[in-house]
Structure formats: structure tokens, C-alpha cells
């Protein structure tokens, strides 16, 4: 396996995914459906970084703010940049997660899960809160993976040209 090629594809595929995700979440009210039928929401908020160009001409623009409209980042997309980092809010029923996803590596930063109580009840297994935290982290990565799987189906399927047109229309808005 060519690891250099794997890295190049990861960057391009990851950037295309996060760009598509921004478009898809805005045009579907953030709603996504997992394979098992579970409905959850993913929205891009507070922080987006867009990147374009190659080598020394590579440019990155970062937009952030608690209620930011991320207008500059959108402008970046119009001029050919793609999302290389995005902060996502994942919601399911009453609970929510926040996470900053890196396009090239899919590493997660600042992952905030719903709060896990740190105080142990009498007789409670001390591993219980560790397992609860793992469960909550896996829920979040599971939702993100599920959206990525949906993207792959579209990206490597027959409908991609149509989806690209819709994405371009969204950019023109």
C-alpha cells in the first residue's frame, strides 16, 4: 500500500466530506439517519477553517465565534477552498456533543460529551463512570462515522454529479 497516496486521498476526501457535511446539514435541517434508522442531527457551528492552494501558496482562513455566521469561511468555499476543520454539534433527543474534526486525519479535538457524574454512589462499580464515558464517546464517533458512510455512498455512487450541482447552488445563495 502506498502510504503517501493514502495521505493525499485522506486529505482530499476528508475536505470534501466536511464541505459536503456543511452543505448537507444546512439543507436538511441538520437531520441524518443512521443505517439502523436512528435519527440524529449534525450541524456545523462556531468554528470552521477552510483551505485552498498547494505548497507555499496554500492558504487557510479560520472563522470562529460563539454565534458566528462563518461568512468568511463561506466566501472561502466560493473561491475554491474546502473545509479542513469544522466544529460539529451532534444532537440526539435531549443530549448533545461538540467536536472539532480534522479533515485529513479524522482526529477529534475538544470532544465534549454529555456530562458524566464523577461522584460514586455507595456500592457503585468504580468502572461504571469510565464505561459511561466510553459509551458516550462511541455514540458521537458512531454518528460521525454514519454521516461519513452516507457521504461515501453518494460520493462513490451514480448521484454524485447531481449532488455536486446542489452543492454549487447552495454556495451561490
Amino acid at each position: 500500500m502506498d502510504l503517501e497516496r493514502a495521505q493525499t486521498v485522506s486529505l482530499a476526501l476528508g475536505q470534501e466530506f466536511l464541505t459536503w457535511l456543511w452543505f448537507a446539514s444546512e439543507t436538511s435541517h441538520g437531520l441524518f439517519t443512521a443505517r439502523d434508522g436512528e435519527v440524529f442531527s449534525v450541524t456545523v457551528e462556531q468554528k470552521v477553517s477552510v483551505q485552498g492552494g498547494e505548497g507555499e501558496a496554500r492558504e487557510t482562513a479560520v472563522c470562529s465565534g460563539p454565534m458566528a455566521e462563518l461568512r468568511e469561511a463561506r466566501m472561502g468555499l466560493v473561491t475554491g477552498k474546502k473545509v479542513n476543520k469544522a466544529k460539529l454539534r451532534v444532537e440526539k433527543d435531549e443530549v448533545s456533543w461538540q467536536v472539532l474534526v480534522d479533515a485529513a486525519s479524522f482526529t477529534l479535538q475538544g470532544l465534549k460529551t454529555p456530562k458524566v457524574s464523577m461522584t460514586l454512589e455507595e456500592g457503585e462499580d468504580p468502572d461504571a463512570r469510565i464505561l459511561e464515558k466510553i459509551y458516550l464517546m462511541e455514540k458521537c464517533t458512531g454518528y460521525v462515522d454514519s454521516v461519513f458512510a452516507r457521504f461515501l455512498e453518494i460520493r462513490f455512487g451514480a448521484d454524485w454529479p447531481e449532488e455536486t450541482q446542489r452543492l454549487r447552488q447552495w454556495l451561490r445563495r
Binding site: F106, T107, I134, L167
Partner: protein
């Protein structure tokens, strides 16, 4: 970085080997202990790393907290680094050089050789290191033994490389990072590898085709 913190950084992996010998599970504790963290507080070593128990960085024997947690294995990578501040180093090298030059003049010599200067620098570094306490850092690891995925609470490439090597050395298993490329291969299946390998980015911007 700990998984129990309010904000967590995460790098995820898949274990490459599909047939993990079942005997490995009984050996996990022993293998972790064989590669456990070794304290360097009393030495002058620059760096030490190894496994400690998940809940306690002072427990390299896994006596207080065994790694088995339900269907998961949880443990921690501890890395201690002894680093002398460059400004402190610069000052003490200057003092030692001045001292060496005084002795040199008294002995009627005219200059310090390159080797002598290097030796002075090395000795100063060792002396200062002996007086500097190593800084500990802990990175939690969770291994899902059903799905054979592993994650570590860090996104620093240098640290994750160190982790990957130590994991392979400890368990004889290899980790594949769950990057978009590898996730795509996993999702689409090996039959479509060439499509992923030949991936060409789409142009979304105005005027793109």
C-alpha cells in the same frame, strides 16, 4: 490527556490482524507490565515512557486498577520528559566556558578546541538534567475488544507515533489509523480499492465543472 476530562482529543485506530489469538487476552496484564512505565526521577535520563493503570499514573503494576473494563481494555501511556530550559542552559554553558577559558589561560594555552567545547556543553547538560525533575504526561487508551478498535487521548503526531510503536511492541498487533482513506476502504470494501486510490477531488467553486 484523559478520557474523563470535560474536553477530549482523540485519535482512532483499527487493529489490522483479523485473527487475534485468544491466548492474548489472558496475557494482556502481563504484557502491559513487561512494558510498564519506569520512573526516572532519580536518574538523569531525558525521557521514559510505558504503560500505567488507567486511573493512576503511579501504578505501573496494575495493582489498583486492572485494565479489563467490561468489553474494553483501558490503560494509560505515561511519558516523562526531562527538559532543561534553553535560557538556563545558555547561562550555565557561558559560566562553564568562562571558567574553562580562565584555566586554559593559566595553563598558557590559547584556545579551547571544538571537542573541549562540546564536552563542556555535554557536562553542563548532564549536571542541569540531574537537577531538573521530569514532567509527567498521561494519555489514556481504550481498546474495544469486540470491534477491535483502539483510541488514544491525543492528536499530537509525535505522541501517536510513539504509542503505535509501543502498542505493536507490547501486543504484537498493528494499528491502522481511521483516516478518511482507510475508513473509505473499510466501508466500500476491498473490491473498490482502485476507486478510492484514484480519487480525484471535485471542484465545488463557481465555474467548476
Amino acid at each position: 490527556m484523559g478520557f474523563m476530562s470535560a474536553s477530549v482529543a482523540l485519535t482512532r485506530y483499527r487493529i489490522v490482524e483479523e485473527d487475534i489469538p485468544s491466548s492474548l487476552w489472558a496475557e494482556v496484564g502481563e504484557r502491559l507490565k513487561r512494558n510498564a512505565f519506569r520512573d526516572i526521577d532519580a536518574s538523569v535520563e531525558e525521557r521514559s515512557f510505558g504503560w500505567v493503570s488507567f486511573a493512576n499514573m503511579l501504578d505501573p503494576d496494575f495493582a489498583l486498577c486492572p485494565p479489563e473494563k467490561g468489553g474494553y481494555l483501558a490503560f494509560t501511556l505515561r511519558l516523562d520528559t526531562r527538559r532543561v530550559s534553553p535560557a538556563v542552559m545558555k547561562k550555565h554553558v557561558a559560566i562553564a566556558m568562562n571558567e574553562a577559558m580562565r584555566t586554559m589561560r593559566e595553563q598558557g594555552r590559547k584556545f579551547l578546541t571544538k571537542e573541549q567545547k562540546a564536552e563542556i556543553r555535554e557536562q553542563v547538560e548532564l549536571r542541569l538534567r540531574a537537577r531538573t525533575l521530569p514532567v509527567p504526561a498521561c494519555f489514556d487508551v481504550v481498546w474495544d475488544t469486540h470491534r477491535q478498535t483502539v483510541c488514544i487521548a491525543s492528536v499530537q503526531p509525535k505522541l501517536t507515533e510513539l504509542f503505535e510503536e509501543l502498542f505493536t511492541h507490547t501486543f504484537g498487533l498493528h494499528l491502522e489509523p481511521l483516516t478518511p482513506y482507510f475508513l473509505a476502504l473499510q466501508h466500500l470494501g476491498p473490491g473498490r480499492q482502485s476507486e478510492v486510490d484514484n480519487f480525484e477531488p471535485t471542484i465545488f467553486a463557481m465555474g467548476g465543472q
